[in-house]
Symmetry: D5
Subunit: 160 residues, 10 copies
């Protein structure tokens, strides 16, 4: 199996921790799934954490430091703050895989809105009180399918 890695030249706006973590990952040759088991978090959350898009708890930092043999103080300094999200990508995404997700929003955006409004009323699906998960399915013909689940709390607009 091949592993996702980071080329810093292509991602100059990621935090210092991304460089530290991806280098450690490349050295240890482990997948996000494996790290995920170590930290007890979903592998998308782990990958997001590597890209500076999710927060690591003190315990996460401790585990990452132990698992990868990274100096704990260094990692703590790099990860102690609050993620500055949205710096991993410029929209519209030029990466084809990510563009397909963007296109789903572009094409089905109003359909989602109409269906959600009819089911839940006036409001939004939270992207904060939110989790997501990726699965691999193999159909009866042996073809592979990716299944992404998005689950967010419904927030109704406050009447004021």
């Amino acid at each position: 199996m091949s592993l996702a890695s980071l080329d810093v030249l292509q991602h100059p706006s990621l935090p210092q921790s991304s460089i530290t973590l991806f280098e450690a990952k490349a050295k240890k040759k482990v997948s996000f799934e494996e790290i995920s088991k170590e930290l007890g978090r979903d592998e998308v959350a782990i990958a997001a954490l590597f890209y500076g898009q999710a927060r690591a708890s003190a315990e996460d930092i401790k585990k990452l430091s132990d698992y990868f043999g990274i100096d704990h103080a260094t990692l703590e300094t790099q990860m102690a703050g609050f993620p500055d999200r949205g710096k991993s990508i410029e929209m519209p995404p030029r990466e084809p895989l990510i563009y397909r997700l963007y296109e789903i929003v572009q094409n089905y955006g109003y359909a989602y809105k109409a269906v959600l409004n009819e089911k839940f009323g006036d409001g939004i699906m939270s992207a904060i009180s939110f989790s997501t998960h990726v699965e691999k399915e193999i159909d009866k013909d042996g073809a592979a399918w990716a299944k992404i689940t998005l689950r967010g709390k419904w927030l109704p607009y406050t009447r004021f």
Copy 2:
């Protein structure tokens, strides 16, 4: 229950069929879930069809025409062509509900890519060989959660 409707002033770039269908829907006062049962398709697909983002089969057109009492020839003329997708929205989306979906792509885009690449290799999740579904969940505290599933065929890059 309230129903999703269309204000043409706000959507001048939708096809003629959107106007016809939303008017009929408003008159008959039915939800996408109800229409969905009538046509035997997912309600997101139905809503996409209303917004000109999905194709109606000849049978769909027949059923829509019967169900809503719309002149069949008129509807056929309006829906016989091929959808010109992407005209329902301008990106980035300004509608808060749709923006949250966009933000998920913005924040988790590279995390999805990394996890999918490690699971499937070099390729993309298709947005064409693709289906999606929306569910409503109520947790033990009575809070509502929206769950959106995206399922697409995995397409590996051709080696050439």
Copy 3:
């Protein structure tokens, strides 16, 4: 006192209800503050409702219809759906008053983030579970000050 009105040529993307309501308001010569008292909602919410940015309850529609003498069925048809927010303005705002608010976000955005993160942890202030209010203050020198309050529920990022 002068009253806010709507010039349709300048706002072609507002919903039909905006035209109906602003015309009625101009005819009856009432301020948002007065309408606010009639509906028992904050005047910013009322103005947002006039611009198609907030939802009217069935009771709101009834009251508006009675108060302005607008045919109830017409108003219901125009307002029964779900607001398609974000269509009243193009960003960055060119209107000087609104630009000042935009500039506050531009200038103090990261300062707000830093302070809120330190006070609440990793999360956001909701713009949905949210209310806002405008006040006029006169200082001891007789100068007028505008005070805008934004109050939103704190949503911590879900750990997953």
Copy 4:
């Protein structure tokens, strides 16, 4: 409590003083609230000052230098000029917390304008003759709410 910090890779356009100050803050492990008390200024103003969005008086520089043990001449050189505001962020903001504030302007912009115009006449709320404050409220159910106050002088358009 966790502290807001600065990752220079993510903010290459901030002034030299931001680097100096955030490094000192990380070393001393103090919050903006604590620094705020030291300087006798609002914590949002302090955070803005750290991001190069507010001006430090000679006395502020002196106090910061003493408090953090930064060489006074260095800090003076870095902070003596006039802030070059607007360089901390690119609009529209991609950071979710800041985006929510942007969305509030996008959604309620014209509502604020209409209400302010009716209350004050033709003019704007100044973003210069302006102060802002953040508060944390806990409601009776134990939920946390953020309250942001914006207070600006009303400037009527000059008639000429």
Copy 5:
């Protein structure tokens, strides 16, 4: 002398009053200078008013109505609200005359800021507490020069 006029096809976002006023001006064949004398306001203010960028007082509306023979009630309805500024132009300006002004800001922007900061301290020149005037000068060689004066109140940043 030729007169400035309005071609509605080229300015679809101007308010209804712009059409009314420019038509009356074309019919009466008067310059902004002449109207300016009638209303006792600067001719730039008058032109701004014609483009929907400045507010007319009740007295201005009365005078315009009398001077041009426009039905007073009609003009009042069209001009009674508050100007929705910024809709006369898209930036960057494509009109060469206006582009030159834009270019002056682009080229001398930071020079103005540096000089103003050194003269006045940290703050801005108001564009609201503001007036402007245009003059024509003929030099000794008979060449014509345009002189535009911008005069705005200096607003220092509030310390908070």
Copy 6:
């Protein structure tokens, strides 16, 4: 009095001469007004020259070199070429002081055009055969006002 300075991190696209000159200015602690007297040019021109937006004559370079004690050959090399204008700023300007000037163009652009066309005919006010000046005025109430004068040659369109 405080002095305008340059933070190179915030202005990576300015020419080498800007760095040299601003460093010398900071060291000598002089204002643009003082330098202006030394060179016999308007202080806005001097500031523009420091930002790489105006050309220095051989004599200017000599005087700057003498005044600041900068090696003449170095300064000559850095300033001998032709200014590459427009690199000091990205439009729309995010700096509030400069934005106000931009807003004046946005709001009064067509008003200026209409008035200038009626006064001068079809043409433009040159931004090249052009000078500008800044003045500080104190009104009878002690309030400070900034006055900016723009003076450009009128260029009529050639008939061909």
Copy 7:
């Protein structure tokens, strides 16, 4: 020979006069070259005038009215004002012929600047005190070449 014409659906922002003139041209079946001889102006100037990008003198209007049999008063009303230039096109141009001209500026822009600066000093070639001409050349192999001449007055930057 085929003639250039105007499809209003593709050019909704041109002035009313463009519609009048192009309709008359299509009816009379004349080329810009022929009209050019009639008015004694360059054919590019004539075409620019048809697109609302150049000014017609009183005599031009008279001749156009006579030549095309258009009611003089109508044409005068439509053409008496000052051209609002820049509304015929959106940049970057999507039309391939015009894009090629744009590409020439993009590719050779700095080369032109360097050469012009060395020949003339610090300044610009005016686009106002300016004329342009198009010629057709047939080389010895029978191939056709287009030759466009741009001729503008050199404007040196004023020293101030």
Copy 8:
């Protein structure tokens, strides 16, 4: 006479050869006209070559290397590839001299198209099979005029 030079801080996207060549040019103090004579090519072509916008033949490289005393192997490595055109500038151009050329395309684009189409039929003037030249003219009043000639092969659209 002053010479055009390159400030690398202002042009970070130019090829390595631009730095080498401009440095050599500054050292040798020669104009593009002089280099032009040396290489037997038009001075605009030479300047374009310096900005990485035109290709140097093997012989050009040899001559440049000899003329400027640059190590031949170095120059060959830097110039042997194919120009990656379009990296010298961001459009719309902010440099006033280049903007004027851009404005000519913006204002006269459709006029050129109409005239060229009538003269040559459906096609374009090539920007590849293309040459350009700059001349200086002094009129009888002593005023300087710049004349730029663009000459491109006419390419008719292939009928297929």
Copy 9:
């Protein structure tokens, strides 16, 4: 087989001829392949002609008029001018099918350039002296493949 049609609401910038032709096509229920045989041109060229992106010869107009029973004079008026290309689409394309083509350019653009430069030297593949063709292939597993051929004349840069 289903037929491509035009919904005018979605394409307000197409020429009048597009409406005429698509209406006739819908009425006669013919494919582009069938029309292609009638006119003896490639079906992509025919479709381009329907979208106003290719020129019809006098003979094409005659044939279209006969074939569809459209009044010849009407069609001639609508199609006699020169195509104003590029108005059928806004880039980046939001339509998924067209986006895939755009993505091919985005992903392989520099690869094409490198390979073409090595094969042909410094120049471009013309998009004017150009033809294109679409084929359908069925592979041995019964899967359908689209094959698009682009063929353009190689234009070497003129040395000048």
Copy 10:
């Protein structure tokens, strides 16, 4: 024959492997066609691989390492991850050769869609299950033509 090379200053966002490979290519002085034969892949694929737009198999890396004498471990580290496509270019492309391809999509986009839809139904041509090839043709007059073939699997929209 000249060879395509890479100037890192012009491509700061390419992965580390691009620098390694292009340097090796320049040193060995080989064309993409030659490398293509070595690896048994199409030369466009090879060029794409050099620009970080295609994936190298373990065997490709081995061959590249052997062929160019690059340390295998280094190359493996640089190329083992998954390509982050779309970083080689900013759209719209400014490079004239690539722009021509972009223009083909812009001009013929809807024509391709219409023809493909009629031939295949509702769907897209995959850019992933995709290969492309470049050929050089010399016509009977000795003129060179470039022929680019795009071949992608047809993906019909899933009905759901």
